[in-house]
């Protein structure tokens, strides 16, 4: 009896507040916008989706979002892998401290961390002041409100998501395997690509998905750091809903975004389930 209560309570909560909302989004995505409250009709058609696929603006926005997320993921990996490797190879005392320093930003407001870059990248901000003082440039370089700023913000915010799973696999890795490869005459780079990299792959995959999935729908970073012309899908969804008050179209945008993410999300869940089994 009590077992049923323990299972059913969170189950019902999730059915009501997680699954049911998606059904509603799906239903509204098939409706037409209307004046009134709520601002949509009770009809059902695929018109919104047809519109999404026929208007080039949306296709370009989706592609740009995917492209930005992929670039951010690659940059996170390029910086995160050596860092995770260094942390995993340091001695125990330093390792704990280094890990703590990776996790610490998690506890500080995400919004305020993005905000911190606004002061740095401003035309009269720290970076430009420094560059002009060094004589690299005599005019401020436009950093804020560019794609560059968005990349910096994305990498900055999501780097810990990359480092932690990478660290977890690299720390578990058997170093003797690399030693053996080197003893057998493999070069450093050969040993890395043939031994370390394949062994680290589960961490690489998990880290990449953990960065890619949230980055693609990111709203705050492009809003604060990106230019007005840098339209990304999270922003489009937000504006369709709040600015244009077109609830059906916003719902359709959400459904397409969700479809885009189904494969990566299922991949991530499968990886995490496997990871949990292997650590027990």
């Amino acid at each position: 009896m009590w077992k049923k209560v323990v299972t059913a309570t969170p189950y019902l909560w999730l059915l009501l507040f997680f699954l049911a909302p998606f059904a509603i989004v799906l239903k509204i995505s098939l409706a037409d916008p209307e004046f009134g409250l709520p601002p949509y009709s009770q009809t059902a058609s695929l018109e919104n989706f047809a519109f999404l696929f026929s208007d080039k603006l949306y296709a370009v926005t989706y592609l740009r979002s995917v492209f930005m997320a992929v670039c951010a993921t690659v940059l996170c990996l390029a910086l995160g892998f050596p860092m995770a490797y260094g942390i995993a190879r340091s001695n125990r005392e330093t390792r704990n401290l280094l890990l703590l320093l990776v996790i610490l930003p998690f506890w500080i407001s995400f919004l305020l961390r993005v905000y911190a870059w606004m002061g740095l990248m401003n035309n009269y901000g720290t970076i430009n002041t420094l560059l002009m003082w060094l004589g690299v440039t005599d005019q401020p370089i436009q950093l804020m409100y560019t794609d560059f700023a968005v990349f910096v913000g994305l990498v900055y915010s999501y780097l810990p998501f990359m480092i932690l799973p990478l660290y977890a696999t690299l720390e578990r890795m058997d170093l003797d395997l690399v030693e053996a490869a080197l003893d057998l005459g493999a070069s450093r780079s050969r040993a890395f690509w043939d031994v370390t990299w394949p062994l680290a792959r589960p961490g690489v995959i998990a880290g990449c998905l953990l960065v890619f999935i949230p980055a693609i729908g990111e709203y705050v970073i492009p809003y604060l750091l990106g230019g007005p012309e840098s339209l990304l899908i999270g922003r489009v969804l937000f504006d369709e809903f709040f600015v244009n008050r077109d609830w059906p179209l916003a719902s359709a945008v959400a459904i397409v975004l969700l479809l885009l993410l189904v494969v990566p999300i299922v991949l991530l869940q499968r990886y995490q389930a496997r990871d949990q089994e292997s650590t027990v």
Binding site: W2, K3, V6, T7, P10, Y11, W13, L14, L16, F17, F18, L19, A20, P21, F22, I24, V25, P38, L79, P82, M83, Y85, G86, N96, L100, L101, L104, P105, W107, I108, S109, L111, L112, R113, Y115, A116, M118, G119, N122, Y124, G125, T126, T129, L159, R188, L209, I213, P214, G217, E218, G234, L237, F241, A250, S251, A254, L257, Q272, Q276, T279
Partner: protein
């Protein structure tokens, strides 16, 4: 070997500088007397004074704290139940759907979660008249839904790594299953529950996008207030606020770190 170590060391140095220089600069500029936040005009603590006199910020902070405490508490109860169900009840109907629903909110883009919950609340309001207005309750429900997933995962992995013999022994001795949970299982997973509560609390304080969707007129959380302000550019009292948060978090994490080190040694 030497070259490789040097490469790793410089990447580490660069990476940590990248993570921390912006935060340090915010702290420094929070003591800047100048109204233009990026030009140094001498040392001053005036922005802290203005911060404490700003009723809007204080109201928003109080609302955020109330939501964070409420949603973290409900999320810990529901998340612990879910963790127990997933780790201890091997088989029940709809288990696959359940574990899928538990982990999905963690990776769902915030705009989708926010939109779908708002549409749910609007629909419910039409059908049953509840929730009559959006604000504290709706934000708390939304935050609970995504943070209970984190609690569930933490509790579940703690349960999986724990061996069941204590519970089995109590069962063999004829203990009532419910008593076993309260006397043995819960004390053993208490650290995981505390960690989960703290994580849920921070996630709630941190959230901007989902709260923006499901809140109503007049109920601004702290991140919503900050966002409306920083949209217009750098602002010195937000620097002061950020500094207070950075200092509070650092002290908290430092204490936790020293405490766990002491327990270990």
């Amino acid at each position: 070997m030497r070259g490789q170590t040097r490469f790793i060391a410089s990447m580490l140095a660069f990476g940590y500088a990248f993570l921390y220089v912006p935060l340090v600069l915010v702290v420094v500029y929070s003591f800047n007397d100048s109204r233009i936040a990026t030009v140094w005009g001498g040392f001053s603590t005036r922005w802290y004074g203005e911060l404490l006199r700003n009723e809007q910020i204080l109201d928003a902070a109080f609302l955020s704290l109330r939501i964070a405490v409420a949603s973290a508490t409900i999320a810990t109860v529901l998340g612990t139940m879910s963790g127990l169900a997933l780790a201890r009840f091997r088989r029940f109907r709809g288990r696959t759907l359940f574990s899928g629903m538990i982990t999905s909110p963690m990776v769902m883009p915030e705009v989708i979660t926010g939109l779908s919950l708002l549409l749910l609340f609007v629909t419910l309001q039409q059908l049953v008249g509840w929730p009559s207005q959006r604000g504290f309750t709706t934000i708390t429900i939304a935050h609970t839904t995504f943070s209970m997933a984190y609690v569930a995962v933490i509790v579940q992995s703690r349960l999986m790594s724990m061996d069941e013999s204590l519970e089995e022994a109590a069962m063999d001795l004829g203990g009532h299953p419910l008593r076993i949970v309260f006397d043995i299982t819960l004390p053993l997973i208490a650290p995981a529950m505390i960690a989960g509560w703290l994580l849920a609390f921070t996630l709630s304080l941190d959230d901007l996008v989902i709260a923006s969707f499901v809140s109503g007129p007049g109920s601004n959380t702290l991140p919503m207030y900050i966002f409306s302000k920083v949209k217009l550019g750098v602002s010195p009292d937000i620097n002061a606020l950020a500094t207070l948060i950075i200092v509070a978090v650092s002290i908290g994490v430092l204490i936790a770190w020293i405490a766990t080190r002491r327990v270990r040694s």
